[in-house]
């Protein structure tokens, strides 16, 4: 079935919406009735047809509109896309990985023809048809990472590996959950995670770092992370916090179902062949509480998770203000029954 791309917005009138199919393929992040920080890594293997995991790089009905929102953000703030000078090989690695995966998974949408270093890329949904020389940045309108991540959903970080740690040395970050690439670029793994509460003391970051430094080429891994966002806004950056922060005060018992969104991040980690860097796509999926309520298991589980979550995590994830309203909304869906493990709809 051909994909139909929505014409929708993530700002101003917030016309973003999920189709029923899009709801059912949502990567619901709560596998059990409580939540605590965990590394929760698994191999990034193909999932069920139709699921968000079917293809290594997922493209969905929001693709065209998300790319339009990214262009708006970059126009206002070009520093959302930065790469330190030593990351050029990793930039080309990234371009190759995204182009080859998209062309393989979605041949009706993306085409890549390679004749030695002369590459021909067609992106049908965005109306792009470019021929360029792989490795020669003068043949592209942007540097390679910016070029391809203006055509790929989700944020992207490229982390370099040296001195027994990882370094945040390049990224395209326009739909982030309140962290700043411009501030964090050049930091190592422990430094850029400095503001996260509890997880350092739990040893989470020590273990995650060890795990990530051993990710092998051709064997990507993934994990889910989540937060809550008022309105389906992609650009919840610290840069614009003074603009979107006030949204949090607009939630009421009447409008919470359409206003409050669960924002799941499907994070994957890929070893890059030329640079030995790691590509770290952070793909976000938004879903309103109303849409969650169409899947009884999810609404019930989410009620239990939000009930038991520690205050410091609710604060860090930025929803402590609206937590009680969310609980009130979800409580009627929690009838006390036992739920199956896992994030599948039923």
């Amino acid at each position: 079935m051909a994909m139909i791309f929505h014409d929708e917005t993530y700002r101003d009138d917030f016309s973003f919406h999920n189709s029923p199919e899009s709801i059912r393929r949502y990567p619901f992040p709560f596998h059990e009735d409580s939540y605590m920080y965990a590394i929760n890594m698994e191999n990034h293997l193909p999932g069920k047809p139709g699921s968000s995991y079917e293809h290594p790089i997922d493209v969905d009905e929001h693709y065209v509109s998300e790319m339009r929102d990214r262009a708006i953000v970059l126009n206002e703030d070009p520093k959302r896309c930065q790469a330190l000078p030593h990351m050029m090989a990793a930039q080309w690695d990234t371009l190759e990985l995204l182009m080859t995966n998209k062309a393989r998974s979605y041949p009706d949408l993306f085409t890549l023809e390679r004749n030695g270093d002369l590459w021909h890329w067609i992106n049908q949904p965005l109306g792009i048809d470019d021929t360029f020389v792989f490795g020669d940045q003068s043949t592209l309108p942007y540097e390679p990472m910016e070029y391809i991540t203006r055509q790929a959903q989700g944020d992207f970080c490229i982390v370099d590996q040296r001195n027994d740690t990882l370094w945040m040395d390049a990224g395209m970050v326009t739909c982030q959950a309140d962290w700043s690439l411009d501030f964090d670029i050049g930091m190592n793994f422990m430094e850029w995670h400095a503001p996260v509460p509890m997880a350092h003391e739990l040893g989470i970051f020590d273990r995650a770092l060890k795990f990530l430094m051993n990710v092998q080429q051709g064997r990507p891994v993934r994990r889910l992370n989540w937060t809550m966002t008022v309105n389906p806004r992609l650009d919840t950056s610290p840069e614009n916090y003074h603009k979107w922060g006030p949204d949090k005060t607009t939630v009421t018992a009447q409008n919470i179902g359409s206003k409050l969104h669960l924002r799941c991040e499907l994070q994957s980690f890929w070893r890059l062949p030329r640079s030995n860097a790691l590509l770290f796509p952070i793909r976000q999926y938004l879903i309103s509480l109303n849409d969650i309520a169409t899947i009884p298991k999810w609404a019930c589980r989410m009620h239990r998770v939000l009930t038991t979550i520690p205050d410091s995590i609710a604060e860090y994830k930025g929803f402590s203000r609206n937590r009680q309203l969310a609980l009130d909304f979800l409580a009627p869906f929690d009838d006390g029954r036992e739920l199956t493990l896992g994030g599948e709809p039923e």
Binding site: K79, S180, D182, F183, D184, I185, G186, M187, M190, E191, W192, H193, A194, P195, H200, P238, E239, N240, Y241, H242, K243, W244, G245, P246, K248, T249, R321
Partner: protein, 194 residues
Amino acid sequence: MAIKSRPVYAGFNVDITAQQHVLALEGQGADALLEKLAGGHPMLERAEILYVATGSDHDAALRALGAANYWLAPTAEALRDRLSEILAHATMCTRLYVAGTEGFIGSIVQLAADFGIANASIIKEFRGSQQRRVQCVHCKGFNDNVTISPFQCVHCDLHLFVRDHFSVRLNAFQGVCINAETPDIIPPSVEMYR
């Protein structure tokens, strides 16, 4: 609790293998050197000391050390200009030392990077005020010598609190709008970083 992104300043120790010692001292940072070299030290014959007083008074004591070269800079900016000149002509086996407030140390680290001197190779000691240099995450402007939180950004006028997150590249803590979710309520400022 330590801020994971904040540098650890190990303190002054003379690198006896160095052929040339260049020392940038700000205010009470002078004490880091004076206390270490109370009884004199052979390194002084190969030492170039730059000092900016910023309210302290170590000029006479530093001068009395009898270093190969000593200069009292009128401002930190003038000190950095002179240091650039020295580093431009520095040879192998030159060791750089810096002591003073965090913002001053960071400014020297940034300057040294332009001359290919790795951050980790610089000997540092934190002395003096805890005041912070803060970048407004919204307008990207820098605010020097911040002692209170919240404070008003001198560039965009937003009221900022100081997040415990430090960027070595920017030499600054992160300032974030404190009243985004409560536009009418700005908490009173408290002296946090004396």
